[in-house]
């Protein structure tokens, strides 16, 4: 591949034990079937998974790192959103 690069695809794999597909990396492919095959060949060589999702990277929309302060800092001082202020009876062991 020289002048024309195949589109980039993001790969998500679900492991045998897992319930969710986890992002594992990206590959190049000309179309969706090839993307699935390439993902299989690159990311499941060591029995990493039993299910593959691919999505063309251009369809992923990301939050802007420059806005991190306004997006995430306000949660810092709202510790009451965590359920850690309840008095639990001693009989409850695994909370």
């Amino acid at each position: 591949m020289t002048e024309q690069q195949w589109p980039l695809w993001e790969v998500f794999i679900r492991s045998k034990q897992g319930l969710d597909h986890k992002h594992v990396g990206s590959i190049h492919a000309a179309d969706a079937p090839m993307a699935i095959e390439n993902a299989r060949d690159v990311y499941t060589r060591r029995m990493e998974g039993v299910s593959i999702w691919v999505v063309e990277s251009k369809y992923i929309h990301a939050s802007n790192p420059d806005e991190a302060a306004s997006l995430y800092d306000p949660a810092n001082d709202k510790i009451y959103r965590h359920p850690t202020f309840y008095d639990l009876p001693d009989e409850l062991k695994h909370m």
Binding site: I27, A29, P33, M34, E37, N38, D41, V42
Partner: protein, 275 residues
């Protein structure tokens, strides 16, 4: 090492034939490692190479066990010369460009799928077990190579022309896949070996379907591609009447010698060396 001396029965010859098919094509594919058109396809072909070498190992181990002497999987793979190899001629053909490598894989995988499918029913339980495992691998090899044949055959003018050229180079070696060697004939009656003559019809059907989608003309007799208008006729009468044979009996093309020289160099120069 002569074949006639270590084996006193027919079965090991058959097992070696199957092992050599897998090893030689596996090695050919491995020659692409680090040279594939893109990283993803480099890995894809390396995976197929590893599948094939894995199949070869099981088969060589079985052949060595049958021989019951000092032979090992390594001595069988690295210690025999070209005339002792029993692989068919198709798998030893040089890689050429990506299109030729793809087409070689496709033509062989289409055969190997039907072959392993039937070998699963072999009365030899060891061969049946190896076939069972290998069959799943070949399903993927065929899927992968079919898509590439279609992609390149029905791609640009350049890719189509390269596929036609590859077809012209490889077609004459496909007939051998369906011509049984002596050891296949004698084992066929016992239910151990697959009747390869019966594989021609399913193979032609599969190859014909993919060629149609790939806009590739069905080659005429004598192994040549007669041109874009030489579509396979309705009766399928245009099949090759002539096939290059000999590989299954140890009479190989020049290509195999170069392959073995590279593959066997280390064990020849440093016998028994491990690392």
């Amino acid at each position: 090492m002569s074949l006639s001396s270590p084996f006193d029965s027919v079965l090991p010859h058959y097992v070696l034939h199957l092992a050599d098919n897998a090893l030689v094509l596996g090695h050919r594919n491995s020659e692409w490692t680090g040279h594939g058109p893109i990283l993803e396809q480099d890995i894809a072909l390396a995976n197929i190479a590893l599948d094939l070498v894995g199949q070869a190992r099981y088969l060589y181990q079985y052949a060595a066990k049958l021989a019951g002497n000092e032979l090992t999987e390594d001595s069988l793979a690295y210690g025999r010369d070209a005339w002792d190899f029993r692989n068919c001629l198709l798998v030893e053909q040089a890689n050429g460009d990506w299109g030729k490598t793809i087409l070689r894989q496709f033509l062989f995988s289409a055969w190997q799928l039907s072959f392993y499918d039937r070998l699963r029913e072999s009365r030899d339980s060891e061969l049946a077990a190896i076939a069972e495992k290998s069959y799943k691998e070949v399903i993927y090899h065929l899927r992968w190579s079919s898509e590439w044949v279609i992609r390149l055959g029905d791609g640009t003018e350049e890719s189509h022309n390269r596929m036609e050229k590859a077809l012209d180079q490889l077609w004459k070696f496909t007939g051998e896949l369906f011509v049984p060697a002596e050891y296949e004939r004698s084992l066929g009656t016992t239910g151990v070996a697959v009747d390869v003559e019966a594989l021609r019809t399913p193979w032609e059907k599969k190859v014909g379907e993919v060629f149609a989608e790939a806009q590739l003309a069905w080659p005429h007799a004598a192994g040549g591609v007669a041109g874009a208008d030489a579509r396979r006729d309705a009766a399928g009468a245009a099949k090759s009447a002539w096939a290059q044979t000999g590989g299954k009996d140890g009479r190989h093309t020049e290509e195999l010698g170069y392959l073995l020289a590279e593959m066997q160099f280390l064990q020849r120069a440093y016998p028994g060396c491990e690392w």
